[in-house]
Amino acid sequence: MNQTLLTFPKGGVHPPESKELTEHLPVEPLPLPEEVEILLHQHFGAPCKSLVKKKDEIMEGDLLGEVEAGLGASIHASVSGKVKNVGTSAHPISVSAPSVTIQTDPVAKPREYSPGDWKALSKDEILGRIKSAGIVGIGGAGFPTHVKLAPPPEAKVDTLILNGAECEPYLTCDHRLMLEHPEQVVEGAKIILSVLGIDECHIGIEANKADAIEAMAKAARDASSNGTRIRVDALKVKYPQGSEKQLIQSITGRRVPGFGLPFDVGVIVQNVGTARAIYEAVVLNKPLYEKVITVSGRGIQRPANLLVRIGTRLSDIVSYLGGTKPDLAKVVMGGPMMGFAIPTLDVPVTKTTSGVLFLTEDEIDTKPHSNCIRCGWCLEACPMGLAPNEIGIYVEAGRAEDTAQFGVFECFECGCCAFVCPAKRPLVQFIRLAKMKAKK
């Protein structure tokens, strides 16, 4: 393990971590809900077409939908039971999406998976299993993993980075996963290495997870051999340490060019949760239909790390955890820095849901914003070296289309600028508006 804490040089902020609410709580499986509502458009790429119809009897792990063309990933039934409806439901990001609702059969036996030897599989067979298991990058936008693991041949990839930074406050699901199943995560890393045909893997973990660093370092040591080098790099606790570009820079010193992708600098980054899902897909032949999420915040009765089925409605999770507290002020899907606020609990968990936060008035800031006082704090905070203050002023002045000069298209909406702004300016909101109107 690397002793000095690695980090990126420019920008970043230190929001209150609030991880103490759940970091010591082992992952508990959520009892099967009465019904699940599985969105057919969960991630990056084209929506799936439903392969089932109303009243069909299906088993957990059965294929529900497949993409017909283009990018996308398959979607599987997360419970056994009867298809109640094939329709449209509230989608956490876009307004609504096609969905399949399944009524759970409470007495159905859970599907059994037994490990097989993946080393006998060819590269294409491994990629095929990853594809048919519907694996997507579960820490981010949900980019289909089988596509990401097949970079164009001209990209000279030499390094795999597993992202265990978990820099978003509150979230502890990756932490628990690394602590409870380090060998599975590392096994996933070995599978990825073999697919990519490389032998160098770094696992980046923020230093606030000492026990996970220790567990992963041990698993990494056990798994390393002459051929493969898997090592854990302790990272400085600084948001957005887990952002792909910042993580790559911290660990390898390489900077991904503007509008470039990690493989442009020879790196592939996978979230630790995705690595574990790859392990399950390839070794167990199990599709991705359940995942660990953190349910936290001071507005929920009992914060927890839960293993939930994809399609579980937030309302079911809330009632299992004893309900919300009266001073609940905001519900956020994802982390508090980049997640999105939702107006209803009638929303199902998707493959990319990392957490659900129930925040009280004390935890959020709803003060109205005022004029930019030009303090420059946002310039200091921005990890991309942009000028969010100028973008905000331009947008307010009705000149959003002239904001490309300030780098609006390089912004990945980490929220550092808005976090530090003493005038409480909604800079990310301004930036989103600017992106819609500005000319590339």
Binding site: K10, P15, P16, P169, K245, Q249, R255, V256, P257, G258, F259, G260, L328, A329, K330, V332, P336, M337, F340, A341, P343, T344, L345, D346, L359, I364, T366, K367, S370, N371, C372, I373, R374, C375, G376, L379, C382, P383, M384, G385, L386, A387, A404, Q405, G407, E410, E413, G415, A418, F419, V420, C421, P422, A423, K424, P426, V428, Q429, R432, K440
Partner: protein
């Protein structure tokens, strides 16, 4: 179930947590840092410094509220920025001026220099400095002769009432400019006495500028809080000291840099006025150049200009350059060029 509850929750764009800092917190902290020099000034120049300051602050706050009402903008006097302008305006005028003078200065500072230019964030020039420049141009006698010799015996009512004019004195920089360092020592004592007295604040000067000690304490506290960065104050002070050392004496390299920094408004200007967010560059390289510019112009005005002190004008001149500095020195982008916007 949740749909009827939904109206209770806030739905807004990320991030959902914010740092605990706010404009109000910054401004009121600056106000607090400016209070100790004011208290000391009562013992140096008498109770009328407090009265002048209260009048200045009161009229700044009133002008702000009235301006915002007239211009149909939200009234933001609670953010403390008008209070700072009021304090600073009082701190850079002499202690023996008539009480109506700061009222005029405040109206100029807040109504014209701040709100007619667009309100906080859009005023190019530091309002307090515009107020002072206006007073200096329109009431030059009051602004350049109402200096008082420091009180030594805590008789803080000494300069109240009639006959104040009779005791007016000259500032060290005035004496230095016109009669040389010998005359300064004749009037204020040996160099070590001068350094000690000037450092604590016992010298003729503007109301709030004399106590290097207390202004430094406040300035360092603002640095510690991260509300200002070192770039502007340090580059200003170092430039003044360095250029004075080179050009400030009879011959080259014989000037007295310490005296230059301890007299006039260097510390007040460097820590509390040149660092004003709105009127200084937001980017660090720009800030260093801004500070160096303030320092160089200050020395130029002191040595070659018509006034013995130049900090205020130097900052105002650099305020005018600040937007250009921000345009020239953009933050360094993370991403290397490759796919840059074509």
């Amino acid at each position: 179930m949740a749909l009827n509850e939904s109206a209770l929750w806030t739905v807004s764009v990320s991030p959902h947590v914010k740092s605990g800092e706010s404009v109000e917190k910054i401004m009121w902290t600056v106000v607090a840092c400016l209070i100790p020099p004011l208290i000391l000034s009562i013992f140096i120049f008498g109770i009328q410094t407090l009265i002048i300051t209260l009048i200045s602050v009161g009229s700044c706050v009133a002008t702000e509220a009235i301006s915002q009402k007239l211009l149909h903008r939200p009234v933001t006097v609670r953010d403390g920025s008008a209070v700072i302008t009021g304090l600073l305006l009082a701190y850079i005028i002499p202690p023996g001026v008539p009480y109506w003078l700061p009222v005029l200065g405040s109206i100029m500072a807040i109504y014209v220099a701040k709100h007619l230019l667009g309100g906080i964030g859009f005023n190019i020039f530091n309002p307090a400095l515009i107020g002072r420049a206006f007073l200096l141009a329109t009431f030059p006698v009051a602004m350049t002769s109402a200096w008082l010799p420091p009180i030594r015996d805590a008789s803080i009512f000494k300069y109240m009432g009639p006959g104040v004019d009779a005791v007016s004195t000259a500032t060290p920089l005035y004496i230095l400019k016109h009669y040389g360092i010998g005359a300064v020592m004749e009037k204020f004592g040996s160099m070590s006495t001068i350094y000690a007295d000037f450092f604590v604040g016992w010298r003729p000067g503007c109301i709030g500028e004399t106590s290097t000690l207390l202004l430094l304490v406040g300035g360092i506290f603002l640095l510690y809080k991260g509300y200002i960065s070192w770039h502007i104050p340090i580059s200003t002070i170092v430039t003044i000291a360095f250029l004075t050392w080179i050009f400030g004496g009879e011959k080259l390299f014989t000037g007295n840099p310490l005296l230059a920094v301890l007299s006039g408004g260097v510390i007040l200007g460097a820590f509390f006025m040149a660092t004003d967010y709105v009127t200084s560059p937001s980017q660090k390289t720009g800030q260093l150049i801004f500070g160096a510019g303030v320092g160089a112009l200050t020395v130029l005005i002191r040595l070659k200009g018509g006034y013995p002190e130049g900090v205020c004008y130097a900052i105002l001149l650099m305020n005018g350059v600040s937007p250009a500095l921000d345009a020239w020195f953009k933050p360094k982008r993370f991403a290397p060029e490759k796919g840059a916007i074509k």
